[in-house]
Protein backbone atom coordinates (compact mmCIF):
# COMPACT_ATOMS: atom_id res chain seq x y z
CA UNK A 1 0.00 0.00 0.00
CA UNK A 2 1.38 3.43 -0.90
CA UNK A 3 2.32 5.39 2.19
CA UNK A 4 2.79 9.08 2.68
CA UNK A 5 4.30 11.03 5.53
CA UNK A 6 2.40 13.58 7.57
CA UNK A 7 3.66 15.53 10.55
CA UNK A 8 1.98 14.81 13.88
CA UNK A 9 0.32 17.76 15.62
CA UNK A 10 -1.09 15.61 18.42
CA UNK A 11 -0.19 12.17 19.72
CA UNK A 12 -1.00 9.62 17.05
CA UNK A 13 -0.97 5.85 17.27
CA UNK A 14 -0.32 4.26 13.91
CA UNK A 15 1.37 1.23 12.44
CA UNK A 16 4.98 1.80 11.51
CA UNK A 17 6.63 0.43 8.35
CA UNK A 18 6.66 -3.06 9.88
CA UNK A 19 3.00 -3.01 10.82
CA UNK A 20 3.72 -2.62 14.53
CA UNK A 21 1.57 -0.16 16.46
CA UNK A 22 3.68 2.80 17.45
CA UNK A 23 3.05 6.05 19.31
CA UNK A 24 4.04 9.18 17.42
CA UNK A 25 4.44 12.49 19.25
CA UNK A 26 3.92 16.05 17.99
CA UNK A 27 6.62 16.86 15.47
CA UNK A 28 7.19 13.24 14.46
CA UNK A 29 6.78 12.18 10.86
CA UNK A 30 4.08 9.51 10.64
CA UNK A 31 3.96 7.04 7.73
CA UNK A 32 0.33 6.34 6.87
CA UNK A 33 -1.85 5.31 3.96
CA UNK A 34 -3.22 8.13 1.84
CA UNK A 35 -6.70 7.56 3.24
CA UNK A 36 -5.46 7.75 6.84
CA UNK A 37 -3.46 10.87 5.93
CA UNK A 38 -6.65 12.59 4.76
CA UNK A 39 -8.42 11.63 8.01
CA UNK A 40 -5.57 12.93 10.16
CA UNK A 41 -5.26 16.16 8.19
CA UNK A 42 -8.99 16.84 8.23
CA UNK A 43 -9.18 16.24 11.97
CA UNK A 44 -6.21 18.49 12.65
CA UNK A 45 -4.19 15.71 14.22
CA UNK A 46 -1.51 16.09 11.55
CA UNK A 47 -0.33 18.65 9.07
CA UNK A 48 1.62 18.91 5.87
CA UNK A 49 4.44 21.40 6.44
CA UNK A 50 3.87 23.04 3.07
CA UNK A 51 0.24 23.75 3.81
CA UNK A 52 1.09 24.90 7.31
CA UNK A 53 3.57 27.39 5.91
CA UNK A 54 0.99 28.72 3.46
CA UNK A 55 -1.58 29.25 6.21
CA UNK A 56 0.98 30.94 8.44
CA UNK A 57 2.07 33.28 5.63
CA UNK A 58 -1.53 34.22 4.84
CA UNK A 59 -2.18 35.10 8.47
CA UNK A 60 1.11 36.98 8.96
CA UNK A 61 1.16 40.68 9.75
CA UNK A 62 1.60 42.31 6.34
CA UNK A 63 1.20 45.89 7.55
CA UNK A 64 4.68 46.80 6.27
CA UNK A 65 4.05 45.15 2.88
CA UNK A 66 2.74 46.60 -0.31
CA UNK A 67 2.54 46.00 -4.01
CA UNK A 68 3.99 48.31 -6.61
CA UNK A 69 2.16 47.67 -9.86
CA UNK A 70 4.32 47.82 -12.94
CA UNK A 71 1.42 48.36 -15.31
CA UNK A 72 -2.29 47.91 -14.94
CA UNK A 73 -4.51 49.50 -12.32
CA UNK A 74 -5.49 48.76 -8.77
CA UNK A 75 -9.01 48.09 -9.94
CA UNK A 76 -7.83 45.38 -12.33
CA UNK A 77 -6.06 43.51 -9.51
CA UNK A 78 -8.94 43.59 -7.05
CA UNK A 79 -9.91 39.97 -7.47
CA UNK A 80 -6.42 38.59 -6.96
CA UNK A 81 -5.76 40.74 -3.92
CA UNK A 82 -9.15 40.27 -2.32
CA UNK A 83 -8.66 39.48 1.36
CA UNK A 84 -4.96 40.31 1.38
CA UNK A 85 -4.30 43.30 3.63
CA UNK A 86 -1.62 45.08 1.65
CA UNK A 87 -1.41 48.53 0.10
CA UNK A 88 -1.16 48.83 -3.65
CA UNK A 89 0.42 51.65 -5.64
CA UNK A 90 0.37 52.14 -9.36
CA UNK A 91 3.57 52.69 -11.34
CA UNK A 92 4.69 56.31 -11.29
CA UNK A 93 7.49 56.44 -13.81
CA UNK A 94 10.35 54.76 -12.00
CA UNK A 95 11.00 51.56 -10.12
CA UNK A 96 11.02 52.23 -6.41
CA UNK A 97 10.43 50.64 -3.03
CA UNK A 98 7.56 52.54 -1.41
CA UNK A 99 7.06 49.95 1.36
CA UNK A 100 9.34 48.16 3.82
CA UNK A 101 8.56 45.02 1.88
CA UNK A 102 7.51 45.59 -1.70
CA UNK A 103 6.32 43.22 -4.39
CA UNK A 104 7.22 44.69 -7.76
CA UNK A 105 4.51 43.10 -9.86
CA UNK A 106 3.49 43.13 -13.49
CA UNK A 107 -0.21 42.17 -13.39
CA UNK A 108 0.09 40.24 -16.66
CA UNK A 109 2.17 37.81 -14.58
CA UNK A 110 -0.52 35.61 -13.00
CA UNK A 111 -0.13 35.28 -9.27
CA UNK A 112 -2.15 33.88 -6.38
CA UNK A 113 -2.67 35.33 -2.94
CA UNK A 114 -0.68 32.56 -1.30
CA UNK A 115 2.30 33.23 -3.60
CA UNK A 116 2.21 36.91 -2.69
CA UNK A 117 2.10 36.09 1.02
CA UNK A 118 4.84 33.47 0.83
CA UNK A 119 7.06 35.84 -1.11
CA UNK A 120 6.70 38.47 1.60
CA UNK A 121 7.48 35.82 4.20
CA UNK A 122 10.71 35.03 2.37
CA UNK A 123 12.02 38.55 2.81
CA UNK A 124 10.84 39.25 6.33
CA UNK A 125 13.39 40.81 8.63
CA UNK A 126 14.49 38.00 10.93
CA UNK A 127 17.77 39.55 11.99
CA UNK A 128 20.83 40.88 10.21
CA UNK A 129 22.37 37.54 9.32
CA UNK A 130 19.23 35.50 8.87
CA UNK A 131 17.20 37.51 6.38
CA UNK A 132 16.92 37.59 2.63
CA UNK A 133 16.51 40.99 0.99
CA UNK A 134 15.20 39.96 -2.44
CA UNK A 135 13.20 36.93 -3.61
CA UNK A 136 12.84 36.10 -7.28
CA UNK A 137 12.01 32.95 -9.18
CA UNK A 138 13.85 31.51 -12.17
CA UNK A 139 11.80 31.66 -15.39
CA UNK A 140 12.87 28.16 -16.41
CA UNK A 141 15.33 25.75 -14.86
CA UNK A 142 17.37 25.57 -18.06
CA UNK A 143 16.65 28.96 -19.59
CA UNK A 144 19.77 31.06 -20.12
CA UNK A 145 20.43 34.70 -20.92
CA UNK A 146 21.82 33.52 -24.26
CA UNK A 147 18.29 32.45 -25.24
CA UNK A 148 16.53 35.76 -24.67
CA UNK A 149 16.92 39.34 -25.80
CA UNK A 150 18.23 40.65 -29.09
CA UNK A 151 21.88 40.95 -30.09
CA UNK A 152 22.22 44.41 -28.62
CA UNK A 153 20.96 43.29 -25.20
CA UNK A 154 23.10 40.20 -25.19
CA UNK A 155 26.12 42.32 -26.12
CA UNK A 156 25.46 44.65 -23.17
CA UNK A 157 25.29 41.67 -20.82
CA UNK A 158 28.47 40.14 -22.23
CA UNK A 159 30.24 43.50 -21.84
CA UNK A 160 29.04 43.83 -18.26
CA UNK A 161 29.37 40.29 -16.95
CA UNK A 162 31.40 38.42 -19.55
CA UNK A 163 28.99 35.54 -19.94
CA UNK A 164 25.48 34.69 -21.10
CA UNK A 165 25.27 31.27 -19.44
CA UNK A 166 23.28 32.82 -16.63
CA UNK A 167 19.80 31.79 -15.48
CA UNK A 168 16.91 34.07 -16.38
CA UNK A 169 14.78 35.41 -13.55
CA UNK A 170 11.03 35.92 -13.70
CA UNK A 171 11.07 39.68 -13.33
CA UNK A 172 7.28 39.97 -13.41
CA UNK A 173 7.21 39.35 -9.66
CA UNK A 174 10.13 40.35 -7.45
CA UNK A 175 9.85 40.78 -3.69
CA UNK A 176 12.22 43.30 -2.13
CA UNK A 177 12.85 44.40 1.45
CA UNK A 178 14.01 47.99 1.62
CA UNK A 179 17.64 48.34 2.65
CA UNK A 180 20.52 50.51 1.43
CA UNK A 181 21.73 47.69 -0.79
CA UNK A 182 18.35 46.91 -2.32
CA UNK A 183 17.68 50.56 -3.00
CA UNK A 184 20.95 50.70 -4.92
CA UNK A 185 20.05 47.53 -6.77
CA UNK A 186 16.56 48.78 -7.72
CA UNK A 187 17.96 52.14 -8.84
CA UNK A 188 20.48 50.29 -10.99
CA UNK A 189 17.78 48.06 -12.49
CA UNK A 190 15.67 51.13 -13.20
CA UNK A 191 18.62 52.85 -14.89
CA UNK A 192 19.26 49.75 -16.99
CA UNK A 193 15.59 49.59 -17.96
CA UNK A 194 15.71 53.13 -19.36
CA UNK A 195 18.31 51.99 -21.90
CA UNK A 196 17.10 48.45 -22.45
CA UNK A 197 14.45 46.57 -24.36
CA UNK A 198 14.79 43.41 -22.28
CA UNK A 199 14.06 43.73 -18.60
CA UNK A 200 15.46 40.30 -17.81
CA UNK A 201 18.89 41.23 -19.16
CA UNK A 202 18.64 44.57 -17.37
CA UNK A 203 17.88 42.68 -14.13
CA UNK A 204 20.91 40.40 -14.52
CA UNK A 205 23.28 43.29 -15.17
CA UNK A 206 21.96 45.28 -12.22
CA UNK A 207 22.20 42.21 -9.99
CA UNK A 208 25.78 41.42 -10.98
CA UNK A 209 26.95 44.94 -10.17
CA UNK A 210 24.90 45.34 -6.97
CA UNK A 211 24.99 42.36 -4.72
CA UNK A 212 21.95 41.74 -2.56
CA UNK A 213 20.95 38.92 -0.23
CA UNK A 214 19.04 37.12 -2.93
CA UNK A 215 16.75 34.18 -2.40
CA UNK A 216 16.62 32.49 -5.79
CA UNK A 217 13.53 30.35 -6.12
CA UNK A 218 13.24 27.38 -8.48
CA UNK A 219 11.23 27.72 -11.67
CA UNK A 220 7.64 26.68 -11.15
CA UNK A 221 7.71 27.83 -7.55
CA UNK A 222 4.34 27.05 -6.05
CA UNK A 223 3.00 25.76 -9.29
CA UNK A 224 2.92 26.86 -12.86
CA UNK A 225 3.54 30.51 -13.61
CA UNK A 226 2.38 31.70 -16.97
CA UNK A 227 3.32 34.86 -18.76
Amino acid sequence: MARVHVKAVTIIIAADEHGTAKTYYPGDWVPVSKQRAVELLESGQAELPKEAQVQRALSDDLSDCGIYLRGGTIHETKDVLDGLKVDVLEYSGALRLPFERTLLWRPNQPIQRKQIALGFARIEDAGRYNSWEVAAMLRGNDMLASQIGDQSEQRKTIDAIGDLRLPVYETGAVWVRRTNETQRFIAAWDAELQESNCEEHAFLRALYRNRVLLCSLPAGWLGRWRR
Binding site: P49, L118, Y129, G162, R165, P167, V212, P218, W221
Partner: protein, 203 residues
Protein backbone atom coordinates in the same frame (compact mmCIF):
# COMPACT_ATOMS: atom_id res chain seq x y z
CA UNK B 1 43.28 38.84 -3.91
CA UNK B 2 44.61 35.30 -4.04
CA UNK B 3 42.61 32.60 -5.76
CA UNK B 4 42.90 28.91 -6.49
CA UNK B 5 41.10 25.64 -7.06
CA UNK B 6 40.39 22.96 -4.46
CA UNK B 7 39.51 19.32 -4.95
CA UNK B 8 38.51 16.73 -2.38
CA UNK B 9 39.67 13.23 -3.27
CA UNK B 10 39.66 10.29 -0.88
CA UNK B 11 40.86 6.96 -2.22
CA UNK B 12 42.79 6.05 -5.32
CA UNK B 13 39.86 6.29 -7.74
CA UNK B 14 38.89 9.73 -6.53
CA UNK B 15 42.49 10.92 -6.69
CA UNK B 16 42.75 9.68 -10.27
CA UNK B 17 39.49 11.42 -11.19
CA UNK B 18 40.73 14.62 -9.58
CA UNK B 19 43.93 14.43 -11.59
CA UNK B 20 41.97 14.10 -14.83
CA UNK B 21 39.76 17.01 -13.81
CA UNK B 22 42.79 19.15 -13.00
CA UNK B 23 44.35 18.31 -16.38
CA UNK B 24 41.21 19.58 -18.09
CA UNK B 25 41.25 22.69 -15.87
CA UNK B 26 44.89 23.44 -16.75
CA UNK B 27 43.99 23.62 -20.46
CA UNK B 28 41.70 26.57 -19.73
CA UNK B 29 43.48 28.08 -16.72
CA UNK B 30 47.13 27.00 -16.66
CA UNK B 31 48.12 29.58 -14.05
CA UNK B 32 45.49 28.74 -11.42
CA UNK B 33 46.98 26.92 -8.43
CA UNK B 34 45.37 23.64 -7.42
CA UNK B 35 45.30 21.89 -4.05
CA UNK B 36 43.79 18.51 -3.22
CA UNK B 37 42.33 17.60 0.16
CA UNK B 38 42.94 13.90 0.55
CA UNK B 39 43.55 10.90 2.76
CA UNK B 40 47.26 10.93 1.99
CA UNK B 41 49.85 13.60 2.63
CA UNK B 42 51.43 13.54 -0.84
CA UNK B 43 49.39 12.66 -3.89
CA UNK B 44 52.34 13.26 -6.19
CA UNK B 45 50.90 15.50 -8.90
CA UNK B 46 49.65 18.56 -6.97
CA UNK B 47 50.03 20.16 -3.54
CA UNK B 48 47.82 18.30 -1.12
CA UNK B 49 46.53 18.46 2.44
CA UNK B 50 45.91 15.33 4.44
CA UNK B 51 42.64 15.68 6.34
CA UNK B 52 40.95 13.02 8.45
CA UNK B 53 37.66 11.86 6.93
CA UNK B 54 34.35 11.47 8.77
CA UNK B 55 30.98 10.05 7.72
CA UNK B 56 30.21 9.76 4.01
CA UNK B 57 33.61 10.02 2.26
CA UNK B 58 34.75 13.50 1.34
CA UNK B 59 31.83 15.42 2.82
CA UNK B 60 33.52 16.43 6.06
CA UNK B 61 36.27 18.02 3.99
CA UNK B 62 33.71 19.77 1.80
CA UNK B 63 31.97 21.44 4.73
CA UNK B 64 35.41 22.56 5.99
CA UNK B 65 36.62 24.04 2.70
CA UNK B 66 36.71 27.54 4.15
CA UNK B 67 39.30 26.45 6.70
CA UNK B 68 41.18 24.24 4.26
CA UNK B 69 41.51 26.78 1.47
CA UNK B 70 44.71 28.85 1.52
CA UNK B 71 43.22 31.52 -0.78
CA UNK B 72 40.95 34.55 -0.50
CA UNK B 73 38.80 33.23 -3.32
CA UNK B 74 38.31 29.55 -4.04
CA UNK B 75 36.76 27.46 -6.75
CA UNK B 76 35.81 24.00 -5.53
CA UNK B 77 35.39 21.28 -8.16
CA UNK B 78 34.16 17.76 -7.56
CA UNK B 79 36.81 15.24 -8.59
CA UNK B 80 34.53 13.78 -11.28
CA UNK B 81 34.19 17.03 -13.23
CA UNK B 82 35.80 17.97 -16.54
CA UNK B 83 36.38 21.59 -17.52
CA UNK B 84 35.78 22.63 -21.13
CA UNK B 85 35.54 26.41 -21.02
CA UNK B 86 36.49 29.45 -19.00
CA UNK B 87 35.53 29.61 -15.34
CA UNK B 88 36.36 33.30 -14.88
CA UNK B 89 32.76 34.40 -14.34
CA UNK B 90 32.50 32.86 -10.89
CA UNK B 91 35.51 34.81 -9.67
CA UNK B 92 34.12 37.92 -11.35
CA UNK B 93 31.02 37.67 -9.16
CA UNK B 94 33.20 37.22 -6.07
CA UNK B 95 35.12 40.37 -7.08
CA UNK B 96 31.79 42.20 -6.99
CA UNK B 97 31.19 41.18 -3.39
CA UNK B 98 29.09 38.04 -3.88
CA UNK B 99 30.06 35.39 -1.32
CA UNK B 100 29.19 32.23 -3.16
CA UNK B 101 28.50 31.32 -6.79
CA UNK B 102 26.79 28.02 -7.46
CA UNK B 103 24.47 26.13 -9.81
CA UNK B 104 21.02 24.78 -8.88
CA UNK B 105 20.52 21.01 -8.78
CA UNK B 106 18.41 19.40 -11.45
CA UNK B 107 15.80 17.89 -9.06
CA UNK B 108 13.68 20.56 -7.38
CA UNK B 109 10.30 20.73 -5.63
CA UNK B 110 8.95 17.27 -4.78
CA UNK B 111 11.86 15.56 -6.50
CA UNK B 112 14.60 17.24 -4.57
CA UNK B 113 16.82 15.63 -1.97
CA UNK B 114 15.99 12.14 -3.21
CA UNK B 115 19.60 11.12 -2.56
CA UNK B 116 19.25 11.73 1.18
CA UNK B 117 18.07 9.27 3.78
CA UNK B 118 14.33 9.51 4.31
CA UNK B 119 14.86 10.91 7.80
CA UNK B 120 17.17 13.68 6.61
CA UNK B 121 14.99 14.47 3.62
CA UNK B 122 11.89 14.89 5.78
CA UNK B 123 13.81 16.92 8.34
CA UNK B 124 15.09 19.25 5.61
CA UNK B 125 11.68 19.69 4.00
CA UNK B 126 10.19 20.39 7.39
CA UNK B 127 12.79 22.98 8.37
CA UNK B 128 13.20 24.83 5.10
CA UNK B 129 10.78 27.28 3.55
CA UNK B 130 8.38 25.87 1.02
CA UNK B 131 10.10 24.90 -2.22
CA UNK B 132 13.54 26.21 -1.31
CA UNK B 133 16.11 25.75 -4.06
CA UNK B 134 18.44 22.77 -3.88
CA UNK B 135 21.96 23.77 -4.86
CA UNK B 136 24.56 21.42 -6.35
CA UNK B 137 27.80 21.74 -4.40
CA UNK B 138 29.93 20.01 -7.03
CA UNK B 139 31.03 23.31 -8.58
CA UNK B 140 31.12 26.34 -6.33
CA UNK B 141 33.10 29.51 -5.92
CA UNK B 142 33.32 31.16 -2.51
CA UNK B 143 35.32 33.89 -0.87
CA UNK B 144 36.53 34.69 2.61
CA UNK B 145 33.95 36.89 4.26
CA UNK B 146 32.22 37.12 7.59
CA UNK B 147 28.95 35.84 6.19
CA UNK B 148 30.61 32.97 4.34
CA UNK B 149 32.43 31.97 7.52
CA UNK B 150 29.13 31.90 9.40
CA UNK B 151 27.48 29.91 6.63
CA UNK B 152 30.25 27.31 6.63
CA UNK B 153 30.07 27.02 10.42
CA UNK B 154 26.33 26.42 10.21
CA UNK B 155 26.83 24.01 7.31
CA UNK B 156 29.19 21.94 9.50
CA UNK B 157 26.72 21.98 12.37
CA UNK B 158 23.94 20.79 10.08
CA UNK B 159 26.08 18.16 8.40
CA UNK B 160 27.11 16.68 11.75
CA UNK B 161 23.43 15.89 12.43
CA UNK B 162 23.55 13.02 9.92
CA UNK B 163 27.17 12.86 8.68
CA UNK B 164 25.95 11.86 5.23
CA UNK B 165 25.51 13.99 2.08
CA UNK B 166 26.09 17.74 2.14
CA UNK B 167 23.38 19.41 0.03
CA UNK B 168 20.53 18.94 2.50
CA UNK B 169 22.79 20.32 5.21
CA UNK B 170 23.54 23.36 3.02
CA UNK B 171 19.82 24.02 2.54
CA UNK B 172 19.25 23.87 6.29
CA UNK B 173 22.31 26.07 6.87
CA UNK B 174 21.00 28.72 4.44
CA UNK B 175 17.71 28.65 6.31
CA UNK B 176 19.63 29.96 9.33
CA UNK B 177 22.50 31.99 7.90
CA UNK B 178 22.29 34.10 4.76
CA UNK B 179 25.09 34.98 2.40
CA UNK B 180 25.32 36.75 -0.95
CA UNK B 181 24.64 33.76 -3.21
CA UNK B 182 24.70 34.16 -6.99
CA UNK B 183 23.38 31.50 -9.32
CA UNK B 184 24.92 30.40 -12.61
CA UNK B 185 23.32 28.39 -15.39
CA UNK B 186 23.47 24.64 -15.78
CA UNK B 187 26.35 24.69 -18.31
CA UNK B 188 28.56 25.32 -15.27
CA UNK B 189 27.71 22.05 -13.57
CA UNK B 190 26.70 19.15 -15.76
CA UNK B 191 26.87 21.04 -19.03
CA UNK B 192 29.07 22.49 -21.72
CA UNK B 193 31.44 24.40 -19.41
CA UNK B 194 31.85 21.82 -16.66
CA UNK B 195 30.80 18.26 -17.36
CA UNK B 196 29.99 16.22 -14.28
CA UNK B 197 30.54 12.48 -14.37
CA UNK B 198 28.38 11.90 -11.31
CA UNK B 199 29.62 9.08 -9.12
CA UNK B 200 32.84 8.30 -11.01
CA UNK B 201 35.01 9.36 -8.08
CA UNK B 202 33.60 6.78 -5.74
CA UNK B 203 35.66 3.68 -5.20
Amino acid sequence: MSKGVLYVAYGQQARQEARLSAESLYKMHPSWPVRVISDVADIGWAPSTEWADLGTPGRWAKVNLDALSPWDQTLFLDADTRVYDSLHVGFAYLDRGWDMVIVPSIPQHDEMLGHLSEAERLETISECRIDSMQLNTGVMWFRRSYRMGMLFREWRTQWLQHKDKDQGALMRALERRKAYVAILGRPYNGGAVVAHRFGMARG
